[in-house]
Symmetry: C2
Subunit: 588 residues, 2 copies
């Protein structure tokens, strides 16, 4: 089985030393969230994740969720762990105190999301969609509905789902077929089939609150005729207690490559009672509130799985002896630890430099998210919101793709033992493999970035972002200079690439489309470089206070700038070759 | 389930049009292997692979090989398919007619290896190691042993294994512990444990011939004390019939991520009778005959799995509708086929350009292998042998790594359906995932390339190879010119990188070691570019004879030169940053 130690020191470093964000620090209600408080939370979080959740990973893989007589049973141990999880209040961590939440900022809850992803992604999904549904209801539903549903969801007694996908429509929601017929009392009868519904049914909670996209019978075709409905598994009576079963049945559950503990359901809605959430025909907008936060969390999942893959690889490399290193002085037959081999060290540092860069970028994004939701100034809020919307597809795709690289490299370090089931390494890859797919495939994310996020009605967002970077590479500092210069080379490429792609969006959309994945990668690697620069700034200042920690940071950054950032080059060169030869190709 | 159509047209194109290899064409015994004969063989090969072997892939994944009461049972259908396989003579395809083989060159058998890898890698492994053992016995054993064992192996009635790995030694065979005690009659008693033994036990053949590395009781420690022994599952009597069971038992079989139909065994040798093969203490040399051929075949496995992944992705992209393409003229809610989207086309062409480049490179390597084994001139033989030895780690690693990229991209094109088990796509990834690990991890291959293959006792091999490329980019041809110029840019990088790494091998081995993976990739991508150049040369000449086929080749080549070859840049830039900051790092 894998082992895991929550990286609290690195998280606290970010929380204490990387708060140099004026806008975030101005948010009144977070002023009392002191480092001491956060440290206490993380210590407790580490305990439940290391001791209670981590063993569920293997249990869920070996005993997947099953559908028996119409009822979904979660793997052994899930129920007990879930009870403990909600009893200790982890579900409510970031929720509004008005509904029983603890009101922690995303700068803290993102750390918890990472730990939980490291421990067991399959288990996490039972809690994650509840928070997604919570956010959506909180932003778009009526007060009555909020008061009726949210406290139970915050408590974790009821869970939530997002029901978007249908057999012929995943990415393309315009063609969805689920129907909603309005009743005389203002409620709707929902009928249709939804597939790939995460936690669509299970035995962990008393009720399941489905948020369902459907087309009202008098709505137009296409995306402009889609509304959002709240459809509970059990009808909730006026006094808030559980009533009769609603018209929803579980058709089947998917047999998947990984996250086998998570029940991915086909749900059949047959005249199920639903309540409209938000304005009619604006269902997609409402759902996207939820989707965008979810997408960042998918990025964090990739980060969490990368972290546990790294930790286990490092441990193995310090135990396994094989071959002689170049510097080996021993002359007999005995082998050296594989951590002494340059290529293994390179692989480990590749993981580490990506993971720590991602964690820092993610911390910055959590700050921006909080500013976008909670700052007093509308303009400041809007600017933060635009940056979040720019970086959301980047974090979702880059972190999930790099999670694949890292979990795969972890298998490679383990050799044959990585390919067998005993050590749990290959499971990390299989579990992570869903992250580039769900919540919109990474291809769709890249297209979203290029065609919708670079420039929006508020202005040239990517230009604003690039200007932040431009400023940060010009701080006067002899220690930072070599890194700033290196980053500058690749920032120039990003700038050129951005100019190129903006042109293409206008006059050759296929060129832009075919370049979108490479563009996302270039923006992402430069953003990670920028995050590392900010980490370096602190590290050079503080190195005398904690030599080991900060020297480690500086060395890891060096690796990132020398060995990871140059990936930008190939992405850029190949992407700007255009798409004529791609579009003209006649596939057999 | 996946579908598969053997790419016979492309294979025949190589066989007919890319034979411009003087040395290969001089080999007398292959002059009668006409294209018509080869076409007949490939047609028959396609039938058995498409109809009989392909269904075994899913069957084996769902019903893995099991160990019951000390006996390994293969998945349902394997026995019947294996009988048909050997009945139709597929085991003997490339074997020596002296022992009942059909004497086909590797240029033909490699096509069969590819098809079989596409159809079912797990099934293939039961046949592949027999050929490995056959080659080893044929090269190193006495006439008596050859006459006793080879005919049965060629017929497929007996199978073979390679027993190298032990619990503490995989890559590093110097520390192996299995012991061999010489008996008065010249035989040995072998005792020890071997792990990860592919096809170590099964129910497909009457006998299993293990080739076991062990240390004779009077041999020195380290790699110089290892000998090779033939240890049959059942002792073979003097008349060639099966005698009593030898002292070998199957301890367990591995529970793996993929290739579940293949039995990967722990074998316990307890005073098992063995016969020494080849000279005492030279066991590693003898085993490497087999290992080198095996490594090329592992590359071909990656190619085969890539081909079936591509075919299924293409089919899916032509069926699945989702979203509107940029050129879409339809204005209603209906979606376009995903093959009309630029990013999906890019992904498909990426696969296709890699696969066809690999097939062409592999064909060239098969020719070289044949020259190295069968040419009349010792010097010509030696030169070919050196080129094969240079390119073996490249093909093994690059093709297996790119097989991961391609099978993973195939999942991505299938979206959620790629992650579920129904369509068989995720299985392609899981099955392929062993290829970068077994027969020496790709990290070990890269180190082997850099430290042992660039320059050997016969001279500067990589320089000879680079000179071949130098010559080929200078042919006068206006049509080829843009491609030659593009290749030249990256060949220059290879030349610079080669000079850099040769220096480092001398004075800074860790720099060379940390750069080895990048170096292998650079050499590999340039070699694929070179193969494409040769394909282009023919294509421009022949385009009027088969417009569709050759225009398709030219377009695919264009993709390779524009979008794949530039990967060289990042590998080169990051690798030459050295290793000081890697070796100095203090891992916690």
């Amino acid at each position: 089985m894998t082992t895991y130690t929550a990286p609290i020191e690195d998280m606290m470093f970010l929380y204490e030393k990387l708060r140099n964000n004026k806008n975030y620090n101005e948010i009144e209600k977070y002023k009392e969230i002191t480092p001491d408080l956060v440290k206490d939370i993380l210590d407790e979080a580490a305990k439940i994740n290391q001791n209670i959740i981590l063993p569920l990973a293997k249990a869920g893989d070996e005993n997947p969720a099953v559908l028996e007589n119409g009822v979904v049973r979660t793997p052994p141990g899930y129920k007990e762990a879930y009870s403990k999880f909600i009893e200790d209040g982890w579900m409510s961590l970031s929720c509004d105190p008005k509904y029983g939440g603890q009101g922690m900022p995303k700068t803290v809850s993102a750390f918890f999301d990472e730990m939980l992803s490291s421990a067991s992604l399959a288990f996490k999904l039972y809690t994650e969609l509840t928070l997604g549904a919570y956010n959506c209801i909180r932003h778009h539903a009526s007060e009555d509905i909020k008061n009726m549903y949210l406290p139970k969801m915050v408590e974790g007694k009821w869970s939530g789902t997002m029901c978007l996908t249908e057999p012929v429509c995943g990415t393309d929601l315009g063609i969805l077929k689920t129907k909603a017929h309005e009743q005389e009392d203002g409620t709707y009868k929902i009928s249709g089939q939804k597939i790939f519904i995460t936690s669509g049914d299970h035995d962990l909670t008393e009720n399941i609150i489905h948020l369902v996209l459907a087309r009202a019978s008098d709505s137009p075709p296409g995306t402009k005729g889609i509304s959002l409905f709240l459809v509970p598994k059990y009808i909730v009576k006026e006094n808030g207690s559980i009533g009769p079963k609603n018209g929803i049945s579980t058709g089947s559950i998917e047999n998947k490559m990984g996250i086998k503990g998570s029940a991915t359901c086909v749900l059949n809605f047959d005249e199920a009672t639903g309540y409209m959430i938000g304005p009619k025909n604006k269902g997609l907008n409402s759902m996207f509130t939820m989707m965008n936060l979810e997408r960042i969390i998918v990025g964090i999942q990739g980060l969490g799985l990368s972290e546990i893959a790294y930790q286990n690889s490092l441990n193995y490399a310090k135990e396994r002896k094989q071959g002689k290193s170049n510097s080996s002085k021993s002359q007999n037959g005995s082998a050296d630890l594989i951590i002494e081999h340059a290529d293994i060290r390179r692989s480990l540092l590749n993981m580490k430099s990506i993971i720590e860069g991602e964690r820092a970028l993610c911390f910055w994004l959590s700050q921006q998210t909080e500013v976008s939701l909670n700052h007093n100034e509308p303009k400041t809020k809007q600017e933060a919101s635009d940056l979040v919307s720019l970086m959301t597809p980047v974090v979702k795709s880059l972190f999930s793709d790099l999670g694949m690289e890292i979990t795969s490299d972890a298998m490679q370090i383990h050799g044959g033992y990585g390919y067998t089931k005993d050590q749990g390494i290959e499971q990390l890859y299989r579990d992570n493999r869903i992250t580039p797919i769900y919540e919109g495939t990474n291809s769709v994310q890249a297209i979203d970035l290029v065609f919708r996020k670079l420039i929006n009605k508020n202005g040239d967002i990517v230009e604003n972002y690039i200007n932040i970077l431009r400023k940060d590479i010009e701080t006067e500092s002899s220690e930072l200079k070599p890194y700033q210069e290196k980053l500058k080379i690749y920032l120039e490429k990003l700038i050129d690439f951005t100019a190129w792609i903006k042109e293409k969006i206008k006059d050759s959309k296929d060129d832009a489309n075919a370049a979108s994945n490479d563009y996302l990668k270039v923006l992402g690697y430069v953003a990670l470089g920028h995050s590392w620069l900010k980490v370096l700034e602190v590290s050079f200042k503080e190195v005398s206070n904690n030599k080991k920690f900060y020297e480690d940071k500086i060395q890891t950054a060096k690796f990132y700038f020398h060995r990871v950032l140059p990936r930008v080059e190939s992405h850029y060169s190949s992407a700007i070759s255009g798409s004529g030869y791609i579009m003209d190709f006649k596939f057999n």
